[in-house]
Symmetry: C2
């Protein structure tokens, strides 16, 4: 098992790296890693928030980042697969944006190393936001005076409005989307009454059963000490052959293989966070499992080949619920206007 897990850790980057798998449970830090080439500022975060909520980043003006990563709720759309422009359906379930800043790679298949890289994808994806190319995004933003002014103020230089800077602003905002003070975190800090006895039993079980072999680190998605851009992958199912495979189409999507075309990447997935997992149903890359208790049963069977009993499932679900943090209070952005006209083409 340990060898298998180690083998499952595949570097996106070139750096060699050995994980510390058996670390103790960790609280969520107040701040995620901030890349040196994209420092935070209040003005950049505000610009990124506006972009995150702006449906004008989609071809027909109907889809924003928030459409599928709803920060008024779970940071997802709570759908099996997302729906983009023109009612088009995506192939996978939207991962939560909450605490995504702690992940060392983005997307279910880890194909983006950073939040900046990730942000560039959906805007140009024909079944998500559907913009034809980066220049079309910039052309549109350039026609919105409030954006022109803010990009200049935040990034300066001769060409402040670039697609890289659009992504940097959105990523800076996303680095504020952290959910501290879950019952589990308060328990780790020594606060009394944070965890029920059932949740404490679940906390012990996820370690005994082996779940925390992968779901470890402060984000329960792999070691925090991993360098950004290097992801923490695992095969799903590790133990194929259960009835769950067909019931939930577990092997249909080949996961990271679709990126690398390497046989060893078939059905490999970036380990998702447990933070706020109680909020993010339906579960798995294809959103095929409606409830958390069933997701726990499926994972125990497919990943560590254990049939949990009802009491064990209940306890683990109770523990996972203790990882629901406090959603930060936020003000609405006010999206910059185009007085007297529009940027979305008028239909005659």
């Amino acid at each position: 098992m340990n060898a298998m897990k180690r083998a499952a850790i595949i570097a996106i980057g070139a750096m060699a790296w050995l994980p510390a798998l058996a670390s103790a449970m960790e609280a969520l830090p107040a701040l995620p890693p901030i890349p040196s080439d994209n420092p935070m500022s209040a003005a950049k975060v505000e610009l990124g928030k506006q972009l995150f909520f702006d449906p004008r980043l989609s071809i027909d003006g109907t889809v924003s980042c928030n459409s599928c990563h709803n920060v008024m709720a779970s940071g997802t759309d709570n759908r099996s697969v997302s729906i983009g422009v023109s009612g088009l359906k995506g192939g996978r379930s939207a991962p939560t944006v909450w605490n995504a800043a702690f992940l060392t790679a983005q997307f279910w298949d880890g194909r983006a190393a950073t939040l900046e890289d990730q942000a560039k994808g959906p805007i140009l994806n024909p079944i998500e936001m559907g913009m034809p190319n980066a220049q079309a995004v910039l052309d549109r933003l350039n026609r919105i005076p409030g954006y022109r002014d803010q990009f200049l103020a935040v990034f300066g230089g001769n060409t402040p409005l670039t697609y890289d800077n659009v992504a940097k602003a959105i990523a800076a905002y996303e680095r504020t989307l952290v959910t501290p003070n879950s019952p589990f975190d308060r328990y780790l800090r020594g606060e009394e009454g944070g965890l029920s006895e059932k949740a404490k039993l679940g906390m012990q079980l996820v370690q005994d059963v082996g779940c925390t072999g992968c779901h470890n680190g402060p984000n329960f998605a792999g070691p925090a000490s991993m360098p950004m851009g290097m992801s923490f992958f695992q095969k799903f199912p590790v133990f194929p052959g259960s009835t769950y495979d067909s019931q939930y189409r577990l092997t249909q999507d080949l996961g990271r293989y679709e990126v690398t075309k390497q046989d060893e990447d078939k059905n490999m997935w970036r380990v998702p966070t447990w933070r706020n997992v109680a909020l993010t149903a339906p579960y798995f890359h294809n959103g095929s499992v409606a409830t958390l208790d069933e997701a726990v049963r499926v994972m125990a069977k497919t990943q560590v080949n254990i049939d949990l009993n009802g009491g064990q499932v209940d306890a683990i679900v109770a523990f996972l619920n203790s990882l629901t943090g406090e959603l930060p209070l936020q003000m609405f952005p006010q999206l910059p206007a185009t007085p007297n006209g529009v940027v979305i083409p008028v239909e005659r």
Copy 2:
């Protein structure tokens, strides 16, 4: 002309009523009318805000009230016609929700007497939010503990969660969506420098030309003294036959006739507000006109049979821009969760 305008005022209700058309220009009151059967409370407004932003009020969990009435921007979607679930397109352009609480009837054709009545429509419209019936909405909300608790706290009684109460909560929130302190309002209060000389010229022109025959009252959408439920309608075009009719398909949609099937209601429309009109392009019921200056030219030609010159158009546009108010600062709602599961059906 006066007789024609008076004839255009059609009561939805049974009350006889005579408008005072020639009133002086009025500032926007701080509060809109509050109906006696739906008093405001902070808890009700908060519940209504959550419902307004909750995409779970749509069949597939993708469309909320805010999707087409975006309160981070113009209170509209700035599209020619709105797009609902499954990429379906509506037939008319979404009116702004800002200051809608001051309108004495809702929808372009005035078919809803109140905000409460209006709120019930889009949720059940198959090409908007697509819920099959009111009971399906209630069934879904009943499965969300946070909503059950709030409906009980706000409305009390044995059956607090009714479709009427859903509409009441949304309407209560919408009555907070008022945009005070526009340059025009500050000017009326005697503040110096609120209006440019060009805007002042425009203010005089809209009265001299006759625009304020219909666009009057504090919301520039008809007299404030009109009882709720009685709307202020006008034919558009009053003077048919200009090239604009075909260019912008002005007579294709029969407007209020589609509600009443009375010949005299052909091409009759509720007079829309001028408040924030600079933000709400594209213009008219079909969103066929992309810019405010063109909308001004079209209205002058079709409604009072005047060809404005460029300077006059500029001045009127400057005045209309002075009606852009301050969007209120708002906190994000946090949508009540369904821990460990979902209310939108999972797709296998």
